[in-house]
Symmetry: C2
Subunit: 341 residues, 2 copies
DNA sequence: CTGAAAGCGCTAACAC
DNA sequence: GTGTTAGCGCTTTCAG
């Protein structure tokens, strides 16, 4: 028998009960006697019955589906988060609809609106960096939303973040322990919450060591980064180490160093925030602060489902902050022996 | 006025028409006089009316949503394809639900079934490599499905592929032009369609040059790859160049070369299939055959929507094959000058 | 514990 | 061109 053809009425007839009893067995929404339940389940199996999700959603005015909005899918970090969220959703028999904001709060708003019109049960969002966030608008008042990676200021939304500051602090401390005195922070944009936090972690470590922080926040392209680094290197107090704010900055910086014939860990030491696929293969292997991307998605999804289980939209916002890990390889100056098979 | 509160009846009353007229204006499903249409549109706007997607789907027995199934999201190639598909879907006012198969045909089947039960209008799939494909089963007879990147043998499904053979042929030809005589092919698995095709392209180029192909198809881990390469290098006819079947193999091989202290382009030349994020930053920069991942997703999505527009499920299968591009950098032995900003 | 009736919001089919 | 009727398949409500 083909799935999706039988209706609830067919099941009810075969089991010799009313449709409501079938519905109750399916949803555990009211007690059903064990014998009746058994008969109904037999009938369901026999007919290969599956409830029609639209009829159900139409009646209940909400679907068994959650929405995910991330800036893009190119950044493996975002892709990994999205994947982790969808794993949890699958586990709970929810489907997932996805959309990307391209870091634009306006697009994010459009996508979120569309999802709400499609009656998603809730939303998991990595908020767009550009523009004014719109998710606090009244039309989302009744929508459960959880933020990942970046919080939204002064709002009701729960969020799951990572230890940006302490992670950066530890990384910079490691560079200081290697004897570096002039360490520069390279960021992507002042608009990004994570970059700002990481800068603070960096700055506090520098200050504690009695050193002056120095930063460039605009490593958006390889060209820009190259120019910035060249200028820094040829200055009066050339940095002997760099702390790179995220994987995009790391990418740009690596390119710049190669262009400028600067040898990493001979000429300068570096540590990046956010691990990436080739970090351990690079020569020298790049020391990084590792983001628990998978965990971030998982926890956010669980938080969302927790909220869905509650009757009312929560007024209080929860914040979960996940630990990060300093993965020491070679670019920091450590001489870690690499394994030979 | 909050969206999603007004019903079609409210609009009809305000406009002084029947609900069917509203429906017709909304769907362009039948002619409506300009004046009436105008009145209806005014009412829609005034009430901020949005049709209820569930009621619509319930009635039409299908949703305005397509499903995407890819092996995983970690591989940027898959993520990019998925993104490109969802862009097209958005353009056509379709929502997208996603799922991953983990390269397992059984999981793929489960996810596809779930999506069909959720009445997706169609499916875009990068078929799982492991296990016997299940998408030809009768329960999918009425489902529009388009395959990307990998076809399914002898089935009714349209697919969008890339020029695996000729791309590989060109890459190997390039290595031959550099004077290499012993070139080895490194693959990931014989189970992967793409790897097999690329091997054929490699082999034909070798044969045409009067040389013997030589391959290893099991570069699944860095350790395995390392052992294979070491053995090859220390053999009687050590390869002076390698052609790497996909980005995972390239990754493993790069790791192995670094472990074995083999200098790329000094000791051996390499070309990889599939561009990757750090390829141009590596020292030396890696020459690759570039996959048009974005294009692949776009074309597949358009093919799918074309099929959706047709009344009946197409019996004939179409195949689109997209060109690839040899991106010459340095690992092949070319001395391409890198730009300085 | 169980069932019958009503109706969620929309559109196909048929009037006019 | 337009309106009326019926019903998609389910669950809420209320009555037993």
């Amino acid at each position: 028998m083909l799935a999706g053809k039988a209706r609830m009425l067919d099941v009810a007839r075969l089991a010799g009960v009313g449709t409501m009893t079938v519905s109750r067995v399916l949803n555990n929404s009211a007690p059903v006697s064990p014998q009746t339940r058994e008969r109904v389940q037999q009938a369901i199996k026999k007919l290969n019955y599956r409830p029609n999700p639209f009829a159900r959603s139409l009646r209940q005015a909400r679907s068994n589906s959650i929405g995910i909005i991330v800036p893009n899918f190119y950044d493996p970090f975002f892709a990994t988060c999205a994947h982790a969220i969808s794993l949890v959703a699958k586990q709970r028999d929810y489907t997932v609809t996805v959309a990307t904001s391209d870091e634009d709060a306006q697009f994010e708003f459009t996508e979120a609106t569309l999802m709400v019109l499609n009656r998603v049960a809730g939303l998991a969002v990595i908020p767009a960096a550009m523009g004014k966030n719109q998710l606090h608008r009244p039309e989302f008042r009744t929508t459960r939303i959880v933020m990942l990676d970046r919080p939204i200021e002064g709002q009701r939304f729960s969020s799951v973040l990572v230890e940006n500051r302490s992670g950066s602090h530890a990384a910079v401390k490691h560079l200081l322990d290697h004897g570096h005195k002039v360490i520069q922070f390279l960021g992507l944009s002042e608009k990004l919450y994570t970059l700002n936090e990481r800068y603070r972690g960096y700055a506090s470590a520098m200050c504690e060591a009695g050193l002056t922080p120095s930063e460039h926040f605009t490593c958006r392209t390889m060209e820009e980064t190259c120019i910035l680094i060249r200028k820094a290197i040829s200055g009066r107090q050339p940095p002997t180490a760099f702390f790179l704010g995220n994987n995009l900055v790391t990418r740009n910086a690596l390119h710049a160093f190669s262009q400028l014939k600067i040898k990493i860990s001979d000429d300068v030491a570096i540590i990046g925030f956010d691990d990436f696929d080739m970090a351990d293969i690079f020569v020298p292997a790049i020391t990084v602060v590792r983001h628990p991307a998978q965990e971030l998605g998982r926890v956010a999804a669980e938080l969302l489902f927790e909220q869905l289980a509650r009757k009312k939209v929560a007024r209080s916002k929860e914040q979960v902050v996940l630990p990060v890990e300093l993965v020491i390889r070679q670019s920091c100056g450590c001489n870690v022996e690499t394994r030979m098979p």
